[in-house]
Symmetry: C2
Subunit: 426 residues, 2 copies
């Protein structure tokens, strides 16, 4: 079978499975998920063996220690994956929810009901736990999934996917044979070929660095929900409680700098910059944060020159997701200037205003065009678990389909059901 | 300015306008819409003159009488466009609705709030009234719109768009100068260039024939919501009330055959075919409907050979949207076979089951993967007005973003607003 035939086969099988999946009850799905969780733990030995083969090859290929750590599976991580599946099992079924209901004057009853999307392709990089998360969330939401993990994790992913599918099959019931499929072809061309099959594939979600996402989006003929970078901002307004503002700014930058909802640029109103910046300087100095500042901020922080790593900010810096101990600092005049900066340089992810002035806060919340906007809270809350979604498959920076954290509900579409008693149109 | 610069300018202007639009109040938007409606009527003379120029050129280019009729604007049609805008004015603002609300254990209040999508490109064919509908619906939902009508309607569309924008500007308030823009470049290349500008354009909606939609979808780098063909089905189950079934089937085929929600294939359960088919044969014969039948249906209808236009159906026929007095007739055994046929040959638009058996109806409603599924009602109801949406910009056969009829609500996205009192993540 050549590559096109292979991809066509996966896609057709996925579509057929999605038809069956759409009719499974919550109980049937939960039984399968519980069996998958158990099987992952039971089969930990075989999974670790497969992972060892990946690790060995990866070490030979000179993967960095950080990458090797992401790839590695041990009993604790496998238990974590099983727990993730059990958590998903416990969540309510997102399919079949009546989202809206109306009766038309002619007596026709209309219901807008949540449905699975269909067949979802998920493309991701090294961590093998994504295989479990993605397969579990897609299955619970009634979607057939086609997984494409990193080449370096192929053996691990294969062992995990086979374990899950086999366990669900043995759990009895109506588990569709191809509900969870893994692409084992490592050709680069597999993705463009698969993502041209619009009659079978309903959605693609790439997870990983900006380059991966852009490459997938560029080649895909099926809809792609993109999880681009997070260039997040905190704006400290002239009427902010400066103690609160310091807490939020430091949390947004320092609590976990490597993630997409961490702050990359701090905007400070000119009116309070001289009072505010010294409040956060000690902690920033303690963590050796490099500050890339506009001229005004550089001037304000001149007294801290010895303790802080100060640099002038370039235009490009304001567009950059550092994921690191680096922070842009810019002094702005008023909330309008802050909004303008964020909408121009930001990535529509998460942005926060700290202020006691409600009108200004409301303006910020309405005008900042981002998936999550905060008033007096840290940007770090943009996260499925923090939002009470139970689990998350990513954070969409798109506006069509889901926006922001994507849990089970965000993996559904809907249909209209019209229930009549013989109504015809006149 | 070359084409790329022109498109970049339109796109940037659209994005800037969308920022302002997102902050307009319902009153501000309604004032503009009312002014637009009035101006269309006041300016009818100039609009008709522009239209006359289009009509003349179109006649010279040999457009068919049907196409010329679609293109023509008279006072009645202009009044109809103004009425359409007034109807949209009267609808509730779809922006700023709180779709969900929750308070997290840490006290952070989360609200999921509807927002405009941003900048929408609408590509359509001859009828100039689409210019008014699309501009009105996009404006009311807070979206900047970039319109690309048919080349043959350019003068008419230009006069309409200018009238609307000028009226809104004069209505005072904060109408953003580039909220409604029209592409006047007639180059074919304009569309792929514009639809590569993912940083400014949020969505594209092509309206027209399947070829137009496919061409746009193929070249676009921005999300496209597709309004593909309607290959709609009615399935007459073994337990159908045959009088009701006849009424629904005839309505679905004959009430307006040229539209996307008309039936193209009638599926009849083998158990009742012999009773059912003769009930609809007279009306089908009276309307000279060509019936393309499978062998079993041909046999059942043999007695009507003289009155009916009978032909054997080909495989390809089942995939075809006729939009005409042609109907496929196929005998199937049971609801599962009907579901399988519809999911395989259908276009995920609108499909109906007629039955008195609730379990079978529920199975059909759940398993048929279409935007609208009916039980004991005609497929012809899939329509914004019939659904109570007030107005419609199309009927999506996609599953990401809106599905089925798209009114104002379906032209929105959402954002999460987090309102705190200093919460940070630990």
């Amino acid at each position: 079978m050549n590559l096109t035939e292979q991809m066509l086969k996966l896609a057709r099988q996925g579509k057929a499975a999605s038809r069956q999946l759409a009719t499974l009850t919550a109980d049937e799905k939960n039984q399968c998920l519980a069996a998958m969780a158990e099987a992952l733990e039971k089969n930990a030995g075989a999974i670790k063996e497969a992972n060892a083969r990946d690790m060995e090859a990866a070490a030979e290929h000179g993967l960095s220690a950080a990458m090797l750590d992401r790839l590695k599976l041990d009993d604790k991580r496998i238990a974590g994956m099983a727990k993730g599946l059990r958590d998903v099992t416990a969540l309510p079924d997102p399919v079949g929810k009546v989202l809206e209901q109306r009766v038309r004057p002619n007596g026709l009853k209309l219901e807008k009901v949540s449905t699975p999307i269909g067949v979802i392709v998920i493309i991701y990089e090294s961590r093998p736990n994504v295989t479990v998360d993605a397969a579990g969330l897609c299955f619970k939401s009634g979607n057939a999934v086609i997984l494409r993990g990193g080449r370096e994790a192929l053996e691990s992913n294969r062992a995990i996917a086979q374990t899950m599918a086999e366990a669900a099959r043995q759990a009895g019931g109506r588990f569709p044979e191809h509900a969870i499929q893994l692409i084992t072809a490592t050709d680069r061309e597999a993705i463009p070929v698969l993502l041209s099959l619009t009659q079978y594939i309903d959605l693609c979600m790439p997870r990983g660095g900006e380059n991966l996402i852009r490459t997938v989006a560029d080649c895909s003929k099926v809809p792609v929900i993109k999880h681009y970078k997070g260039v997040c901002h905190v704006f400290v307004d002239a009427e902010a409680d400066l103690t609160m503002a310091a807490g939020i700014a430091l949390n947004a930058k320092l609590q976990r700098p490597a993630v997409c909802n961490a702050m990359e640029t701090l905007l400070v109103d000119a009116a309070i910059a001289v009072d505010f910046l010294p409040r956060i300087a000690p902690q920033l100095a303690a963590k050796k944060v490099e500050l890339r500042c506009d001229e005004a901020a550089l001037a304000q922080l001149a007294a801290w020159k010895a303790e802080l790593r100060l640099k002038p900010a370039s235009e490009q810096d304001y567009f950059t997701e550092y994921n690191d101990y680096i922070l842009n600092v810019r002094i702005v005049r008023g909330v309008d200037a802050a909004i303008e900066h964020i909408n121009y340089y930001g990535s529509s992810h998460s942005d926060s205003i700290v202020t006691a002035n409600e009108a200004r806060a409301r303006k910020f919340l309405a005008a900042v065009d981002s998936a999550a906007v905060y008033w007096n809270a840290s940007t770090r809350f943009t996260d499925g678990a923090e939002f009470g979604m139970g689990a998350e498959i990513g954070i969409s920076t798109d506006k069509i389909g889901a926006r922001g954290p994507m849990g089970l509900e965000e993996l559904t579409s809907y249909k209209w059901m019209g229930i009549g008693s013989g109504q015809v149109r006149s």
